[in-house]
C-alpha cells in the first residue's frame, strides 16, 4: 500500500488497535466461561494465548485488506480512479471493516448479557412477586405526609444552603482557574520562593507553638477539644502568613539593595529547603499509598534511608537553586491555574454521595454533613463552570479598561464582572436544581432530609410510606425543574 510510506506512527497505531480488537474477542470468550474456569491454574495462559492470537490475526488481516484499525488510524488508500467509471462498492457485510465490526458487536452483546446476568426466565415467571409491593405503593399511607413534608423542607433548605454557601467560594476560586486572567500573572522567583518556604516554616512553627501552649490545659474546667480545634489552625495560619511575609520582604530588600551574593546564597539554600520538604511529602505519600506505612514507621525501620532521601532532596534542590536567577519571573499564574483545575477536577469526580460518607464521620448523622458534602461538590462544579465563562469573555473591554491605567482589580470589576453575571446566575439556579435532586440520594447515607426517611421506610418494608416519599420527591423535582428553566430563560 502506498499510504504505508507516510511514516511509522499511523501504521503502528492501526496495528495496536487491530491487536486490541482481536485480543478482545478470544479474551472475551475465555471470560465468558469464567465460572467453569474458576481457580483453574491454566486460566492465565488462556488469556495470554488469546492476546497472542489477537496479534497474529491482526497481522494476517492487515495483509489481506483494509482493517478497522487502519480505517480508524486514517490509513485508507486512495480509490483507484478510472475515467468516468465509478468503481462498485462492496456491501458492508462483505468488507473486512464491516465483518470486524459485526463480530465485535456480537461478542460485546453476548458478553454484556452474560455479565449483567439478564434472566428472562425471572422476567416471565416472577412478575407476581413484585405485584405485592406495587400494590402497596399504589396505596400511599398519607398519615406520614406531615413527617415527610418536614423531611422535604429539610432537603430543599439543605440544597439551598449548600448552593448559597458554595457560590461565593466558587466565584472567588473561578478567577484563579481562568486561563486568560492567570496567564499574565508572574512574580520574581526569589521573593516567591522565600515567601513559600517561610509560610511552610511558619505553619510548622505555629502548630508546634500551639502544642506547647495547649498541653497543660486542664480538661476538667474547659472545653479542651474546642480550644484545640480553634487555636491550632489559627496559629498555623497566623504563623504561615507572618513568616511568609517576613521571608518575602527580606528577600525583596536583599534583591532591591543589590546584595547579589546574599541573594544568590539565599536562593540556593531556600531551594534546597524546598527540595527537602518536597521529598518529605513525596516519601510520606509514597509509604502511605504503596506500603500503607507512614514517615514515622519508615524512620523506625528504614535505617539510614529516610535521611539519605531527605539529603538527596536537599542536594537536588540546591542544584536547581544554583541555576535559578532570583529576579527571573516565575509563571505563578500558570501554576495556580493548573493546581486549581486539578483540585476541582478531582473534587468534582468524587460523587456527593461519597463526600457525605466522609463528612458523616466528622459531623455525625443529619442534614449538616449532607449539606457540606453537597457544598464541596458544588464548589468544584460551579468553579469549573464559572471559570469557563470567564475564559469565554470578550477580551476587548479588558484591553480597553487596562489601557486607561486601571489596576488589575479595577479591570476585573469593570471589564470582567459585568460580562459574567448573567451566566453565573443561570448556573447557580441550575445547580440548586441539581442539589435538590442529589440531596435525596445523600439522605440514604445519613445525610438527612427526605432521602433518609425514604431509606428508613424501605428498610422496614413500609412500602406505603415509601410511596408518599416518592410522590413528594417527584412533585418537588418536577416543579423545581420547571421553575429553574423559566428563570434561566429570562436571564439569558
Amino acid at each position: 500500500m502506498e499510504t504505508r510510506e507516510q511514516g511509522w506512527a499511523a501504521p503502528l497505531k492501526a496495528l495496536a488497535l487491530d491487536w486490541l480488537m482481536w485480543a478482545y474477542v478470544p479474551a472475551g470468550i475465555v471470560y465468558f466461561f469464567r465460572d467453569r474456569l474458576h481457580g483453574h491454574p491454566y486460566t492465565v495462559w488462556l488469556y495470554l494465548g488469546g492476546i497472542a492470537l489477537g496479534l497474529v490475526v491482526a497481522l494476517v488481516l492487515e495483509r489481506k485488506g483494509i482493517t478497522l484499525g487502519e480505517r480508524i488510524a486514517g490509513l485508507v488508500p486512495p480509490e483507484p480512479e478510472v475515467e468516468g467509471v465509478v468503481p462498485p462498492r462492496a456491501p458492508w457485510y462483505r468488507t473486512l471493516v464491516g465483518i470486524t465490526g459485526l463480530i465485535l458487536g456480537i461478542v460485546t452483546l453476548v458478553l454484556g448479557w452474560n455479565i449483567t446476568e439478564i434472566n428472562l426466565y425471572y422476567v416471565f415467571t416472577r412478575a407476581d412477586r413484585m405485584a405485592n409491593m406495587t400494590d402497596r405503593l399504589m396505596r400511599p399511607y398519607w398519615e406520614v405526609f406531615p413527617v415527610l413534608i418536614e423531611g422535604m423542607i429539610e432537603t430543599i433548605f439543605l440544597a439551598l444552603m449548600a448552593t448559597i454557601i458554595s457560590v461565593p467560594i466558587a466565584a472567588l476560586l473561578s478567577f484563579f482557574a481562568a486561563r486568560n486572567l492567570m496567564r499574565r500573572v508572574t512574580a520574581p522567583y526569589g521573593t516567591l520562593l522565600a515567601g513559600f518556604v517561610g509560610a511552610i516554616a511558619g505553619g510548622i512553627l505555629g502548630t508546634t507553638l500551639a502544642g506547647w501552649i495547649l498541653s497543660p490545659l486542664d480538661s476538667g474546667v474547659l472545653d479542651v477539644a474546642l480550644i484545640n480545634g480553634i487555636v491550632k489552625p489559627l496559629l498555623l495560619v497566623v504563623g504561615a502568613v507572618i513568616l511568609g511575609l517576613v521571608f518575602a520582604r527580606v528577600m525583596k530588600r536583599l534583591s532591591d539593595g543589590q546584595h547579589l551574593q546574599a541573594v544568590r546564597i539565599a536562593t540556593i539554600l531556600l531551594t534546597a529547603a524546598l527540595g527537602v520538604m518536597l521529598m518529605y511529602v513525596l516519601v510520606s505519600l509514597g509509604t502511605a499509598v504503596i506500603f500503607a506505612g507512614s514517615w514515622a514507621l519508615f524512620v523506625r525501620d528504614g535505617g539510614p534511608w529516610p535521611y539519605f532521601l531527605l539529603a538527596l532532596g536537599g542536594v537536588i534542590g540546591a542544584a536547581i537553586g544554583v541555576r535559578q536567577e532570583a529576579t527571573s519571573e516565575f509563571p505563578l499564574g500558570q501554576v495556580v491555574y493548573s493546581v486549581m483545575r486539578f483540585i476541582m477536577n478531582v473534587t468534582r469526580s468524587i460523587e456527593p454521595f461519597v463526600w457525605a460518607l466522609i463528612f458523616v464521620t466528622w459531623f455525625r448523622l443529619g442534614p449538616f454533613p449532607g449539606m457540606v458534602a453537597l457544598m464541596v461538590h458544588s464548589v468544584a462544579a460551579l468553579g469549573k463552570l464559572y471559570s469557563e465563562q470567564i475564559e469565554g469573555i470578550d477580551p476587548g473591554p479588558l484591553e480597553a479598561v487596562r489601557a486607561t491605567g486601571a489596576n488589575e482589580l479595577q479591570t476585573i470589576v469593570y471589564a470582567v464582572v459585568p460580562q459574567i453575571i448573567p451566566p453565573f446566575i443561570s448556573f447557580t439556579i441550575y445547580r440548586w436544581d441539581i442539589n435538590v435532586r442529589m440531596s435525596t440520594i445523600i439522605g440514604l447515607v445519613g445525610g438527612g432530609g427526605i432521602g433518609q426517611l425514604l431509606f428508613q421506610y424501605q428498610n422496614l418494608g413500609q412500602w406505603r410510606s415509601v410511596s408518599v416519599a416518592v410522590i413528594l420527591i417527584v412533585a418537588v423535582v418536577m416543579t423545581l425543574d420547571n421553575v429553574s428553566a423559566r428563570i434561566r430563560e429570562h436571564i439569558i
Partner: protein, 252 residues
C-alpha cells in the same frame, strides 16, 4: 513628545510584526499610520502603552522610558494615553455612563471605584464629555443598544475622561459606514485642534489619511517605509505601500 527607537516585536519567536521601527511624534500632530492588514499597525500602537510587550527597542513618552517602567509607573503613563478601538471595546451590558466613567479609573480612589462609587465632579465630567460627542441623552442606556457610530463616540468620550495628552486610535472607523466614519474622525480632529491633543490613528483608506492627517507614516511587513506629508504620497508611493495590483478606492 513620543519617541520610538528601534522597536521590534516578534510573536512566539517566529512572526516579526515590527522590525526596527523608529520615529518621533511632536505635540499636537495628527499622525496617521497606513498599511495593509497585518503590516504591524495595531501591534505598534499596543507597544506604545505596553498592552503588547515589545521584544526589543524603546518607547519614550514625555521623556520617560515606557519600556522600562514599573507596573505603577506604567499605570501613570497609561492614564495619559487615551485609546480608541476598532470594535469600540465597550462593556456591552454596562450603561454608557459607566463605560465613560471607566476611563477615569486611573485617577479616582481605587477602593471606592470597586464599589462603583465616583465623586460627583467625575460624573459631571463624564456628562460633559458625552455632551461633547453629542450623545448626553444616552447616558443611562445600555452600551449595546447604541449604533456603531454612537458606540465609537462613547469610546472617544471614555478616552477623553483620561485627560489624555495623546490618543491612540486603532482603526477607529473600520467597522463603520463612510458617513459615520467622517463624523467620528471629525470628533478626533476637533479634539486635536481645540485641546492640542496629539492623535495617532491607524487608517485603512488613504483618502481619509490625506484628509485628516497632518503627517503620514506607512508600515509594510513591520517596517517603516514612508514618513512624510499627506501630499507626498503619489502613485508610486501608493504602489510601494499597498503592492503593485492595488487600486485606490475612496470613502466619500
Amino acid at each position: 513628545m513620543l519617541e520610538i527607537r528601534h522597536l521590534t516585536k516578534v510573536y512566539d519567536g517566529r512572526v516579526r510584526a515590527l522590525d526596527d521601527v523608529s520615529f518621533t511624534v511632536e505635540k499636537g500632530e495628527f499622525l496617521v499610520i497606513v498599511g495593509l492588514s497585518g503590516s504591524g499597525k495595531s501591534t505598534l500602537m499596543r507597544c506604545i502603552n505596553r498592552l503588547v510587550e515589545p521584544t526589543s527597542g524603546q518607547v519614550f513618552f514625555d521623556g520617560v522610558d515606557v519600556t522600562a517602567a514599573s507596573p505603577e509607573q506604567l499605570r501613570h503613563i497609561r492614564r495619559k494615553i487615551g485609546m480608541v478601538f476598532q470594535h469600540f471595546n465597550l462593556v456591552k451590558r454596562s450603561t454608557v455612563l459607566t463605560n465613560v466613567l471607566s476611563g477615569r479609573l486611573g485617577y479616582v480612589n481605587a477602593g471606592a471605584s470597586l464599589l462603583h462609587r465616583f465623586p460627583p465632579e467625575e460624573v459631571d465630567r463624564a456628562m460633559a464629555n458625552l455632551t461633547r460627542v453629542g450623545i448626553p441623552e444616552k447616558a443611562q442606556v445600555r452600551a449595546d443598544e447604541l449604533s456603531g457610530g454612537q458606540q465609537q463616540r462613547v469610546g472617544i468620550a471614555r478616552a477623553l475622561m483620561q485627560d489624555p495628552e495623546m490618543i491612540l486610535a486603532d482603526e477607529p472607523v473600520s467597522a463603520l459606514d463612510p458617513a459615520t466614519s467622517h463624523s467620528v474622525l471629525r470628533y478626533l480632529e476637533e479634539i486635536n485642534r481645540d485641546d492640542g491633543t496629539t492623535i495617532m490613528c491607524n487608517l485603512h483608506f488613504l483618502d481619509l489619511a490625506r484628509r485628516y492627517g497632518t503627517r503620514i507614516i506607512a508600515l509594510k511587513a513591520g517596517r517603516l517605509i514612508f514618513d512624510g506629508l499627506p501630499s507626498d504620497i503619489d502613485r508610486d508611493r501608493f504602489r510601494e505601500i499597498y503592492g503593485e495590483e492595488a487600486v485606490e478606492v475612496g470613502v466619500s
